[in-house]
Symmetry: C2
Subunit: 188 residues, 2 copies
DNA sequence: TCAAATAACATACAAATTGTATGATAAATA
DNA sequence: TATTTATCATACAATTTGTATGTTATTTGA
């Protein structure tokens, strides 16, 4: 068993994460200085350097945490066999997750760090479902390479979800799922 | 008629663009310094500042140029009425364009500036085809909001194209178009 | 509860990079 | 060819980063 992380480290990282997101909602990541983060977080700059080399490492660490939290949400929640049902269920959980962490996701998205999100989602889908999909009859019959399929739907879905997220007033979750339902064919 | 731009400016911007892409293929955009660009481009740093405030402005300017070049490629080349045929034709030109500028696109993509590409493509699709699609019967009947449709397909397609671009060995252009053909339904 | 370990802090400073200013030189325009 | 102006060379101030050191405060684990 791993030694438990020192409480102080947990606290420091949490406040750094929170502050990073807060600032990313105010200005572009590119323009955020390490000293901005530390000032806002009330963390000594030397403490920052004790944990991270630069702000990119901080962002990466945060994204990794976020990914784990999403995987945890998906775990034990998605069990359907039928491909479409499976995707819809997966998506429903994904939307809930994104909705709950709305501030975080929209901050990343608005910073044009879209690439992160797509990589992220693809990684999650691959970990969560690639094994499952591999043996799925629908998929096998489709004659489409699995990697192409995953990239297509991951790219499309994350894009729809993100745009929905940044202008949520327009449709509610059920409507959104309804649209996606129409976008994904019964047999892939 | 607009006054023609001074030749020196054209040259300077071109070498800055070329150098930027060259460097983005070597390291992440985040790590590229203005002085790196100028050294490599053999441009005086003060000349850089005469044109741009920072490297982000340079990238934006470049992306804008790229967009114009793609729009030009599409112009006068896409005329079909049927939605699917239209999309396939549009995509075929897009792939040629991307293939031709392979170095540029993969550099942007590899720098996790995916967001740029999606925005970019959506913008192009909107400019090129939104009017056309708006009056299209297939679309009108689909009961899906046009913005959702565009975001879904734009996100999915750019993602597939980019992944194809970065590992071109795997499939050739015809195979890729074949896959996409299967991903896009006859009636949307 | 207390001693040991260590994370966070305060501070200082060197190094890197940016941003600006100025006059001289070279190239493009008309 | 004369005029305009973009580029260059250089210098320098300002910002930001990165590192180092000793002190203080908090957490851990016995």
């Amino acid at each position: 068993m791993n030694k438990k992380t020192d409480l102080r480290i947990v606290k420091t990282k949490k406040v750094l994460f929170d502050t990073l997101i807060k600032l990313m909602r105010q200005k572009n990541f590119d323009k955020i200085k390490i000293s901005d983060i530390c000032d806002e977080a009330l963390i000594n700059r030397s403490t920052f350097y004790a944990h991270y080399e630069d702000k990119y490492e901080l962002l990466d660490d945060f994204i990794e945490d976020l990914k784990m939290s999403l995987l945890k949400d998906l775990e034990d929640n998605v069990h359907n066999i039928n491909t479409k049902e499976y995707i819809m269920k997966l998506l429903s959980i994904l939307i809930d997750h994104i909705d709950e962490k709305r501030d975080i996701y929209s901050a990343i998205f608005l910073n044009n760090r879209n690439g992160f999100l797509v990589d992220f989602l693809i990684d999650v889908i691959e970990r969560e479902s690639l094994e499952r999909l591999k043996n799925n009859n629908d998929i096998v019959k489709s004659e489409l390479p699995l990697d192409i399929l995953v990239k297509f739907y991951a790219g499309g879905l994350i894009n729809v979800c993100m745009s929905w997220l940044t202008r949520k007033e327009k449709y509610n979750k059920e409507e959104l799922l309804g649209f996606i339902d129409k976008l994904i064919p019964e047999k892939i």
